[in-house]
């Protein structure tokens, strides 16, 4: 297991490099730092919920990889609604916390754009990853219970900070 952990840590350095490169932006806007842990974890959470649901359906033999499959769309809509709720709450909470930890809080509108924009992009990425990983496992004859969650959570972890930084640069 240790070699796998080493490999993942090296990949995580990619998002760390972006944080370090944008150090001035993050350290001068502490409200952005408040978003970082949630962005690192939440894409993985959403992907894990979807992956578990998809692999259970695959095991039951009722999953179809078809764009007309209503169950697939039901799951996608549910994940997007969950993401919209969580990332709106995150923006509001970060705005309140920002008022306490810094003298100059960010504008609520900016925070909403950054949190919802990066959060929804992350959710779409998690959805594509979950469906893709489940499909690939199925084609390769692997058990998606063992493969999808590690793949989806790790890729989403790494991309969370990258996407957040992208939106922060666009808005600020």
């Amino acid at each position: 297991m240790f070699p796998l952990l080493l490999g993942l840590s090296v990949l995580e350095m990619g998002s760390g490099y972006v944080l370090e490169a944008l150090e001035a932006t993050y350290v001068d806007n502490p409200t952005l730092l408040v978003l970082v842990p949630v962005m690192i974890g939440m894409g993985g959470n959403l992907g894990a919920i979807l992956s578990s649901r998809l692999s259970t359906r695959l095991h039951l033999g009722v999953l179809e990889f078809d764009l007309r499959d209503t169950v697939l769309w039901t799951n996608i809509i549910a994940i997007l609604s969950l993401a919209a709720t969580v990332f709106t709450l995150l923006a509001l909470a970060a705005w309140v916390i920002g008022r306490f930890i810094t003298g100059t809080p960010m504008a609520l509108a900016d925070l909403l754009i950054i949190s919802l924009g990066s959060g929804m992009s992350l959710a779409v990425l998690a959805i594509l990853l979950s469906i893709g990983a489940t499909y690939v496992s199925y084609r390769l004859g692997l058990d998606p219970d063992d493969t999808t969650i590690p793949v989806v959570t790790n890729v989403a972890d790494i991309c969370g900070v990258l996407i957040l930084s992208g939106f922060a640069i666009l808005v600020l």
């Binding site: 297991m1 240790f2 952990l5 080493l6 993942l8 840590s9 090296v10 995580e12 350095m13 998002s15 760390g16 490099y17 944080l19 370090e20 150090e23 993050y26 350290v27 502490p30 409200t31 952005l32 730092l33 408040v34 978003l35 970082v36 842990p37 949630v38 690192i40 974890g41 939440m42 993985g44 959470n45 959403l46 894990a48 919920i49 649901r53 209503t70 169950v71 769309w73 039901t74 799951n75 809509i77 549910a78 609604s81 969950l82 709720t85 969580v86 709450l89 995150l90 909470a93 970060a94 916390i97 920002g98 930890i101 810094t102 590690p150 959570t153 790790n154 972890d157 790494i158 900070v161």
Partner: protein
């Protein structure tokens, strides 16, 4: 079944646990955004570089540990109490070694990357001591916290599979960042 109704059911089942995870993340974010922590980032260049990798170990190391415990409980191979059990001790020792090893590696790697890029960096001994100390404290709390919480809930008839993920995220978010901060303060005083 009606799509809207099914969407609402999935939403209801998941929103609670996502909000718990959100609270943990917000607490961690508040610590990260605090004046003291920002001063630490300025004092020890390289900490921001290693932060995502350090926070990710919670899921990779302790999530795997939790999954092993939960499978052991389901199969009846592990008893739900903190006694001297070979399987339990092996799982605990393995995750301590993985958690500490990876923390030290992350500290050293962060230093090496900044050296290679010719960028300003804290000393190797500073970064490695900080990640070692933070990794050690996090391991102790996550391993024993997980065991106590999972065993306790299991004895009340809850399925450990549904508990591991949220508990790891919650404990990892809250204690990972707090111990990173404590390590920065301690190493700042000692070195």
């Amino acid at each position: 079944m009606e799509i809207g109704e099914e969407v609402r059911r999935i939403y209801r089942e998941s929103i609670g646990i996502l909000c718990v995870s959100l609270l943990g993340g917000l607490f961690a974010g508040t610590v990260l955004g605090s004046e003291a922590m920002r001063a630490g980032f300025r004092e020890f260049p390289g900490l921001l570089l290693l932060l995502p990798a350090f926070l990710a170990t919670r899921g990779n190391v302790y999530g795997a540990f939790g999954a092993r415990i939960s499978s052991g409980l389901h199969q009846g191979l592990i008893e739900p109490d903190l006694g001297w059990d070979r399987r339990l001790v092996n799982a605990v020792v393995a995750s301590f070694i993985n958690g500490l090893g990876i923390s030290v590696f992350i500290g050293a790697l962060s230093w090496a990357i900044l050296q290679a890029l010719g960028r300003e960096s804290a000393r190797l001994v500073e970064l490695v001591s900080i990640t070692f100390l933070a990794g050690l404290l996090t391991s102790v709390v996550l391993v024993f916290g997980l065991l106590i919480l999972v065993f306790g809930s299991y004895e009340r008839g809850m399925d450990p599979d549904n508990l591991i993920g949220p508990i790891v995220t919650m404990l990892g978010d809250v204690f990972g960042v707090v111990f990173l901060y404590l390590a920065i303060v301690a190493i700042g005083v000692v070195l």
